[in-house]
Amino acid sequence: MSSATRATAESGTDSLTIVEAVRDGLYTEMSADESVMVLGEDVGKNGGVFRATEALYEEFGGDRVVDTPLAESGIVGTAIGLALSGMRPVAEMQFMGFSYPAFDQLVSHAARMRSRSHGQYSVPMVVRAPYGGGIRAPEHHSESKEAFFVHEPGLKVVSPSTPSDAKGLLIASIRDPDPVVFLEPKLLYRAFREDVPTGRYEVPLSDAAIRRTGTDVTVYTWGAMTRPSLIAADNVAEEHGIDVEVVDLRTLSPLDVETIVDSFTKTGRAAIVHEAPKTGGVGAEVATTIQEHALCYQEAPIERITGFDAPMPLHALEDYYLPQAVHIQEGILEAVAF
């Protein structure tokens, strides 16, 4: 596992879930920097609908942990203004599926304030949003539309899959001089614990992580799909003797082209896994990146194992929609059999 973390002063670890690691990251940065503030719907007294901001209101007060009116465009637009004034706002969208009213503020303004002002103004802000399916949520609560944001120049897009990455990537996002859309896979919020370094450290927004090394085929994935990808890799190793490398992209924009290409030049075969719909998904970008840089190494068509080009169904059928280990195994076998 690649670990590009830069731990600072304090040493030691805490055993945390992803949602606790997000909270720890916020707490750590708010303690270190008075300009960092949190705003959104229910983030204050309620501690966020997923409790990602729990106890921050009591610790830092209502001026730095702000319950706003229910208005996503207002929240993000305000955060842009706060950032322009010298604050470092972290805005929460309650669910990614509710971020669309803020889309105009994000793509028309946050993303291009730097280029529009010819470098005079920048918008160092983070928009956090839980995303993805698998928790039996109502309609619009299970969206995985990272491609919307990846397509917009000027935004960075991050999606952690482990607690230590969640904290380190969030701190790096807050410190980043550009606007970052920070997508949290809510299926994993409380799925497992991991030892997370205490204190302040960053996981850079430039490096993918190799979760499993292998030589026969590379699986590229991110967020909640990292786990079934690792299960599938173990299964095909056991049943078919196939040696799979699993690359967790972690930052979707900008992509870590070097790690993507290096892995592919080693294996020559790729399966890309995401839960978002297939058409126009980030998987298409990864596949093209491979072909641009490593066509001569390619030994098989690149497989995509994704959600369908249909809306995420209500929960009775959502586990048929989400890529499962069996889907991923099939994709790996296809890539290898060619």
Partner: protein, 382 residues
């Protein structure tokens, strides 16, 4: 909160004396207030309205319990708001359109949707969103305030096509008044003077954020003035007042007199007794005795007291109603729990005609299911 408390001081005065005083017909005990006009409903209609409110109350209790048992997923409770929901739908004619939120279970039921159709989505079955041809109800809107511009557009379109006998009624909560779509929808409605009635179910809380952190306006009804609409503040826990005001607003929308404007913004002053949804714990952000105070104004109790005093309802009839609503809910639940949905449903109704790429994706899924069985499709959730 405060606006309602202030209004309480005027509880025995003329219902429309002050602009920000909610209109009432019944006092908290169900007595008709002096100078209040009881709406022109027959005894049978009043009894039916009472039974529907009782059904809604029971449905809500059962749904919360079913969620706790894991038999349905996240549910948005409506206790406290059933009176306004049922009464506003009683004010609709069949040809009028209803734009509900995720909490308007009773409003949808009264305007023609079945109990089964309400329960299916809660079981994760999208087929429950199917709307019969003769029912003018839109699917529930889960994003906040998005339905207002659409409701305006529906009303406008009907007007453009000369359908002057139908209007549109659009529900939303107090939180929705913060969203841009609220302002855009009402502004358009005013500019194009469309036959629409906008009902704000001001239940005082948008999850954890109280009304006074949503808006610095003294009332929500007063926001109507900014868009050139009529704004009316009503006691949302008084079903007879809600019926009368909505009925008048719909009549004006279809057939205004003089220089009256067609659209109306109704602020139904009420309270969400319970949680925002079954995923929410209100004890984190509000005091329980606040809910207790509002329970003293309960719509079901008030209407029961009124009907009893009028000799329309007695204990025996009330007991029959209780049995009947329980049986209805039991039947609907049994039907819905027997429904099994099929993975092919994922691919239906995305487009009128299924594109080739979707057909291929469907066939791949079905082949994978044949090969590995259904158990292989639960690993992500484990």
């Amino acid at each position: 909160m405060s606006a309602y408390d202030d209004a309480d001081q005027h509880v025995n005065s003329e219902p429309t004396q002050l602009d920000d005083d909610p209109i009432r017909v019944l006092d908290e005990d169900g007595n008709v207030l002096p100078n209040a006009a009881v709406p022109d409903l027959s005894d049978e209609e009043l009894l039916a309205m009472y039974e529907d409110i009782a059904l809604a109350r029971r449905f809500d209790q059962r749904a919360i319990s079913l969620q706790r048992q894991g038999r349905i997923a996240t549910y948005a409770p409506m206790t406290g708001q059933e009176g306004a929901q049922v009464a506003t739908s009683y004010a609709l004619d069949d040809q009028d359109w209803l734009f509900p939120t995720y909490r308007e279970h009773a409003a949808k039921y009264v305007h023609g949707m079945s109990l089964e159709s309400l329960l299916k989505p809660l079981r994760g079955i999208r087929e429950g969103y199917a709307i019969p041809d003769d029912v003018n109800v839109m699917p529930e809107y889960i994003p906040i305030a998005t339905q207002l511009p659409q409701a305006m557009g529906m009303a406008w379109g009907q007007q453009l096509q000369g359908q002057t006998d139908s209007a549109v009624l659009c529900h939303f909560g107090d939180g929705a008044t913060s969203e841009g779509d609220f302002h855009e929808g009402l502004n358009f409605a005013g500019v194009f003077d469309v036959p629409a009635v906008f009902v704000c179910n001001n239940n005082q809380w948008a999850i954890s954020v109280p009304r006074d952190r949503q808006t610095a306006s003294e009332t929500i009804a007063q926001k109507a003035a900014a868009y050139g609409l009529e704004g009316v503040r009503v006691d949302g826990l008084d079903p007879l007042a809600m019926y009368a005001v909505t009925r008048d607003a719909l009549a004006k929308a279809k057939n205004p007199t003089g220089d009256e404007r067609r659209p109306t913004l109704i602020e139904a002053v009420q309270y969400r007794y319970g949680a925002h949804t079954t995923a929410d714990d209100p004890s984190v952000y509000r005091e329980e005795d606040e809910a207790d105070a509002w329970r003293q104004k309960d719509p079901l109790d008030r209407l029961r007291n009124y009907l009893s005093a009028e000799g329309i309802l007695d204990e025996a009839v009330d007991a029959e109603i209780d049995d009947r609503v329980d049986a209805q809910i039991d039947d609907a639940l049994a039907t819905v729990e027997a429904v099994e949905t099929d993975p092919e449903r994922i691919f239906e109704h995305v487009y009128e005609e299924m594109p080739e790429r979707l057909r291929e994706q469907r066939d791949e899924l079905l082949a994978l299911r044949d090969k590995y069985g259904d158990d292989a499709f639960s690993e992500v959730l484990e």
